[in-house]
Symmetry: C2
Subunit: 110 residues, 2 copies
Amino acid sequence: MSAPPELPHPPADSLSLSQVLFALSDPARREIARNLREGPLEAAACSAVAADVPKSTKSHILKVLRESGVIRNEPNPNGRGRLLTLRRDDLEARFPGLIDPILDADLRES
Amino acid sequence: MSAPPELPHPPADSLSLSQVLFALSDPARREIARNLREGPLEAAACSAVAADVPKSTKSHILKVLRESGVIRNEPNPNGRGRLLTLRRDDLEARFPGLIDPILDADLRES
DNA sequence: CCGATGGTTCAAGTATTATCGAACCATGAG
DNA sequence: CTCATGGTTCGATAATACTTGAACCATCGG
């Protein structure tokens, strides 16, 4: 699927609010997070975001989201490619009530 | 008190989520916002933030918060200095449920 | 084994932010 | 009027972040 099967993820109890807010301060990154609300997606599939953006760029976007703890990026157990998951529970545990208002807000942006 | 008595503020209905999240992705900026939760403060007073930071730096921090629509920065009607206000209602109207979880989160940061 | 597919990492260039001194501004006190 | 106080703006430099091509990696299909 991709390079190192296992990529590093910050533990649930050490997520940084600054990092999370920064990660979500970008529309493209928020869009990915929003795509994952209804459940995990294959990385290749979730590209609601720009088909025209180079893969290295997309990979970087995912990296920021992963390193901030917003998403999980792991090898797809059954199937090819990688599986992206919103770390909803971890975020909710550490920053209660934070994630939903953020993702909801975009839905009705003027 | 300071330069132009009236500084520009974004209208309540055009606040940008990206700008707000970005502004609040910095601990120092969040701290200021938190200081304003219980009501407006004189700029000079609210320096819970570093007394050692140069005033131009502090002014810049306030600028980011102001331009994102998080705070209002206006001449103090009765008294000297400038008055800082958290634009709670405006934020709440545009991004319901967003601001409180963010400011609450810092209170129990590990 | 081989190629195609999907994905990461590296490096380099560009762009955006942060920091802070210095100059400037406005007001209140004397 | 003048000075001290509190604050903004400007300009330069440093630090971060973004973007992208190229190289590399892993897995699946055939």
